[in-house]
Amino acid sequence: MTILVLCALIFGVGMYTVLTRREIIAILAGVELMLGSANVLFIALASFSGADPGVAGAIGLVILVVAAAEAAVGLALVVTLSRRSKRSSIDELTEVNG
């Protein structure tokens, strides 16, 4: 039960970081928090519900890899934004609207 509260709490913190941070790198970190805590939650629930460790491990690995790929693409975006248009905070990203 504690693991549930823990993961939920961290997921919340991650979401909060994404919603309030100005810099995209910090938002990226927030995303990592969310995905990591979700992965832990999965492993906990899987072991609680008596899933075969192999299957849980495999799915855990999938989630991990996907999160990593996401982070990589995110970083690529961050790098391009700062290189090409010298912008890193989301307050400067309001040109496309209406």
Binding site: I24, V31, A46, I63, A67
Partner: protein, 498 residues
């Protein structure tokens, strides 16, 4: 060799569900290899060729008369449904991807075209998996794969605006991915690692209703974000406006069609559990909200891409009207698939035409006014764009009409008259913005005058390809008129759950 004999010969090969996906992926890889050798144009061409073959194969798989013995829906590895209606929708996914690559993606920067084409190839394959996914894990991976491709394709515009749109799309997308992971964690975690829809069915029934509901809603939200339905729509206008028109065609058409397929299957699975019955009310509310918001917001737009973005939100609303029927029957799913196909074809043709204009008319700033009098310069492509826009409005003699008709017919049978009227009035209002594009193309006199522009247009033509938009328009028109000649049953042929 009559048609049937050819089909008989091809039957064993066509029945392999994953063949199109394999062809598409290998074409993507081959494209990348070509790119390494700086043969960019051939790279794009290879991917386009691969997608064309994949489209043909899945078309064959969709309409070959399956002998009674073989199972209705052949499943691959027991996890991804292919064949029958799924092959039909897959064919549309591949066809629209093929049109997108067919344009040669000249509006992208040199050097990034082949990689973009490769992404589109892989994306189309992932699309087929997504639309047929009958396993939560596969659904999740395909969803994230398409998300990554989408971020990259939006950013492929190579200018500040596309970077900004991609970054914003990424932030939103990551929140959605977070929800998806949570969903997977809850559903798969609590059902002891069983992620396939079949086993999930049993465990969901026995699970605590609250948990099942939470898991289900998390996944539905993730998919709704992918569709661009109302509360999750914010990325759609920015992405379609800033992404290069060719890649936007892939995003708007094939990714959306695949997402609609995946969403409907998930709904069908979830609706079997009593706890989820109220989900239908949520889907209907999203549908109405999307229709109203999409149509209203599109009215004010001056940029064609952004207007098409908002109209995409409205079109998703119409799909959800079809999906929001309470006893989901094979007819209603077929109607949703049909609508997805007609909308995808319309959107693809429109964006491919915009690609032609973007590269053919460098001076065009992407605005509706900018297209003034273009019909006299490029009659064929303007005609194609007009057919696409009319189809998206739902005017008869185009495929869009049949899509909307069957969706609304199904919803009306379900007693949802208020939703049907909202949808219909919405699609009537939609001509206010679609029509403005047609009007500016045909009726307004271009600032530079038609004569001057006419001859200047001819020399730019060789590099820019018009045939993709013409193929798209031809398909849309044929699908619109054929049912009148050969009967309405034809309409279901491609999406029948035989």
């Amino acid at each position: 060799m009559s048609f049937a004999q050819i089909m008989e010969f091809l039957r064993p090969m066509l029945s392999i569900g994953w063949l199109p996906a394999a062809v598409a992926c290998s074409a993507a890889v081959a494209g990348l290899v070509a790119d390494m050798f700086d043969a960019e144009k051939t790279g794009v061409a290879i991917v386009a060729g691969g997608l064309a073959i994949a489209a043909l194969v899945s078309f064959g798989a969709a309409i070959i008369p399956v002998s009674a013995s073989t199972t209705l829906i052949t499943t691959t590895f027991g996890l991804v449904m292919t064949g029958g209606a799924f092959a039909g929708l897959a064919c549309i996914v591949y066809l629209t991807a093929f049109l997108s690559c067919g344009t040669g993606l000249f509006s992208l920067r040199a050097g990034s075209r082949a990689s973009a084409a490769a992404l589109i190839g892989a994306g189309a394959a992932a699309g087929q998996v997504l639309l047929g996914a009958s396993d939560i894990l596969v659904l999740f991976i395909a969803l994230e794969l398409l998300a990554l491709i989408a971020y990259a394709l939006v950013a492929s515009g190579g200018n500040d605006r596309s970077d900004e749109a991609a970054a914003r799309y990424f932030v939103q997308g990551s929140v959605a991915t977070g929800l998806a992971v949570l969903g997977v964690a809850v559903l798969v975690g609590l059902s002891a690692g069983a992620s396939g829809y079949v086993e999930l069915g049993t465990s969901l029934a026995s699970m605590v209703p609250g948990a099942a509901l939470l898991g289900g809603m998390l996944l539905v939200s993730a998919l709704a974000f992918k569709l661009g339905a109302f509360p999750f729509h914010s990325w759609v206008p920015d992405a379609y406006e800033t992404a290069p028109a060719g890649t936007a065609a892939f995003l708007a058409a094939s990714v959306k069609a695949a997402a609609i397929g995946g969403f409907t299957l998930l709904l069908v699975r979830l609706m079997t559990i009593p706890a989820f019955l109220p989900l239908v009310m949520a889907v209907r509310i999203i549908a109405a909200a999307s229709i109203v918001f999409g149509n209203l917001a599109a009215l004010k737009q001056t940029s064609v891409g952004r207007m098409l973005g908002y109209s995409a939100i409205a079109q998703v609303g119409y799909v959800l009207v079809g999906a929001g029927v309470s006893p989901i029957s094979t007819e209603s799913v077929a109607a949703v698939f049909l609508f997805a196909a007609t909308y995808a074809m319309g959107a693809a043709t429109a964006f491919v035409a915009l690609e032609f204009f973007a590269t053919g008319e460098p001076t065009w700033d992407g605005s509706i006014g900018g297209l003034a009098g273009i019909a006299s310069k490029h009659p064929a492509v303007s005609g194609a764009l007009t057919v696409a826009l009319l189809s998206m409005t739902g005017i008869p003699l185009t495929a869009g009409f049949w899509g909307k008709f069957f969706v609304f017919y199904g919803a009306a049978q379900n007693g949802l008259l208020w939703l049907v009227i909202t949808g219909l009035v919405g699609s009537a209002i939609s001509f206010a913005y679609y029509g403005r594009v047609i009007r500016s193309m045909y009726i307004d006199v271009s600032a530079t005058g038609n004569e001057v522009a006419a001859e200047q247009g001819s020399d730019v033509a060789p590099r820019v390809r018009a045939w993709p938009s013409l193929i798209g328009a031809a398909v849309v028109l044929f699908a619109g008129i054929a049912p009148l000649i050969w009967g309405l049953s034809l309409v279901y042929a491609l999406f029948a759950f035989r």
